[in-house]
Amino acid sequence: MKHLNSKSTQLFLGILFCSSIPFWANDQYQIHIATLIGIYWVLVSGLNLVVGFTGQLSIGHVGLLSIGSYAFAILAGKLGFDPYLSMLVSGCLGGFCGLMLGLPSLRLPGFYFAMATMAFSLIVNELVLAQGDLTGGGIGLAGPLFPAPFESPIGFYYFVLAIATLFTWASLNIVRSMWGRALISIRDSEVAAQAMGVPIFRAKLIVFVFSGFAAGISGALFASLQSYITPDTFVFELSLFFFVCIIIGGKGSILGPFLGTVVLTALPELAAPLAKLGNLFYGILLLIVVLVIPEGIGRLADMFIQKIRPRLVKTEPMKPDLSRLAQTLVTYSDTKRGQK
């Protein structure tokens, strides 16, 4: 690469900073919170493509997280399979359940889709309770640790960091590709998307399955971090929490929802009085963001700069270059048409 890509540079600096956390963190608890943020972010990065880019309001991803967690606890804990393999299977199961949920529900318009995903997450929790011999019912299951060097809190933190980086990188790639444009076209103008040939349902389904896979992986890591999971862990509020992370972060951004996840996870934990007022805190923050910075906290710096030094938009008259257009169209129509 000749010049530095600013997004890649940002990502690199971000990883560098995150890698340094264990060196200056005060205690194990802070490492635990950092790990939790990473695990939530794996899920949110996938969900962000669904909510922030495709505009499909899923509020049921806690169901997929729960499925990933239980799959991991059962496979790696009860049955003693290899944890890495179990994690991968948990991810695939999450993706499969995303497919099963998406097939009937993704054709529904916005609000009804949200209701369907909410119903899904409630059903999953009921099923977990009902299938006591598999899931431990209300008593729950132990989530096994990963083998060395990832069994220590710091080791596990780096493991999570690596996976979170991978998902961040993948979603950055998607967003910058043709698929990113297609997803945004579904969000902003379905008729334009159709006219350009974007297969709306299939594209929604693919990105939803991807988010299910991310949720499954996130679930496996979550079970291992919490070391014990019960149905009470996967309350519906957690689903709303993921959703709010994205809304606060801003649609069509990756940095924003990441900051949203960090702020919403860390602030109530680090500022003790806020912990008691968890839901109130989310509510107030959501109100502030929606009313004051509807673009999301990801664009906060941008907005600030705009306020101080507004960007002037000059409207220059258009000057078509007709010979260039003719040249392009003629050579273009001679090349073979793309086929899918």
Partner: protein, 259 residues
């Protein structure tokens, strides 16, 4: 896929097409054709069924009866997306762009039909994905420079003025590599100067072998650039012919042009 005959053979046809919305017959038993390399104008009073006709051709509506054909291929039951892949590009009466994306990204969306890269390959940013992306970006830039948007490649679409938005929609449709371009009131809201630029663009598009259907209210604009003109009134075709034939037709003057 069908073999590609030389470009001047392509024809898009509507055969005795009707469209009913409940009790309202918006298009009543109309046949028309659009050939490669011609500009075909569709005029008529508001509510006469011009836009409905355009939507029938590109698949937003299914006809109540009749057929839509591209050469011998029956498109009547194929989706909008299928028709996009077969080479039907369109613009909208009110520009439908992606407001937060740049001019370049907006036009590149038109290249969806040319894209081979799958979701996972894109997620992993495989070398062939990047190569394809670069080639499509180059092409889109050429077309944007061609239509006169070369100086605002990175500007978000919501900061464009109205004329620029209309031209961007045309650029996006051209990136689709269309055989036919259906323009829904492209001159609506343009300044006189912009209309004359639009006229030049359509001439170049036509010369490259693309068939252009023009739904429009600016009648002198239509009569100046069209090879054939079809006039609609309350869903029926009342006159079809060369601009001079249509312009002097008594019925067309009575219902639409005025004396």
């Amino acid at each position: 896929m069908s073999t590609t005959p030389s470009s001047n053979v392509w024809e898009l046809r509507a055969n005795e097409v009707s469209k009913k919305f409940g009790g309202l017959t918006a298009v009543d038993n109309v046949s028309l054709s659009l050939k490669a390399g011609e500009v075909h104008g569709l005029i008529g009073p508001n509510g006469s069924g011009k836009t409905t006709m355009l939507n029938l051709l590109c698949g937003f509506y299914a006809p109540s009866s009749g057929q839509i054909l591209m050469n011998a291929q029956d498109l009547t039951n194929s989706t909008i997306q299928d028709r996009a892949f077969l080479g039907l590009g369109r613009t909208f009466q009110k520009p439908r762009l992606l407001p937060t994306l740049s001019v370049l990204d907006n036009s590149m969306l038109g290249a969806w039909t040319q894209t081979q890269s799958g979701f996972l390959a894109s997620a992993m940013s495989l070398p062939y994905v990047n190569k394809e992306e670069q080639a499509l970006a180059e092409l889109s830039k050429e077309i944007l420079h061609g239509v006169g948007l070369g100086m605002v490649l990175n500007r978000p679409a919501n900061l464009l003025d109205h004329g620029q938005q209309r031209f961007l929609e045309i650029a996006r449709a051209l990136v689709m590599k269309p055989k036919f371009l259906l323009l829904d009131e492209p001159a609506g809201g343009l300044t006189g100067n912009e209309i004359s630029l639009l006229k030049d663009l359509i001439k170049v598009i036509q010369a490259s072998g693309i068939g252009v259907l023009l739904v429009e209210h600016h009648t002198d604009f239509v009569f100046r650039i069209c090879d054939r003109v079809t006039t609609f009134n309350v869903g029926k075709m009342i006159k079809h012919g060369t601009p001079s034939e249509v312009r002097t037709d008594a019925e067309v003057i009575r219902v639409y042009l005025g004396a």
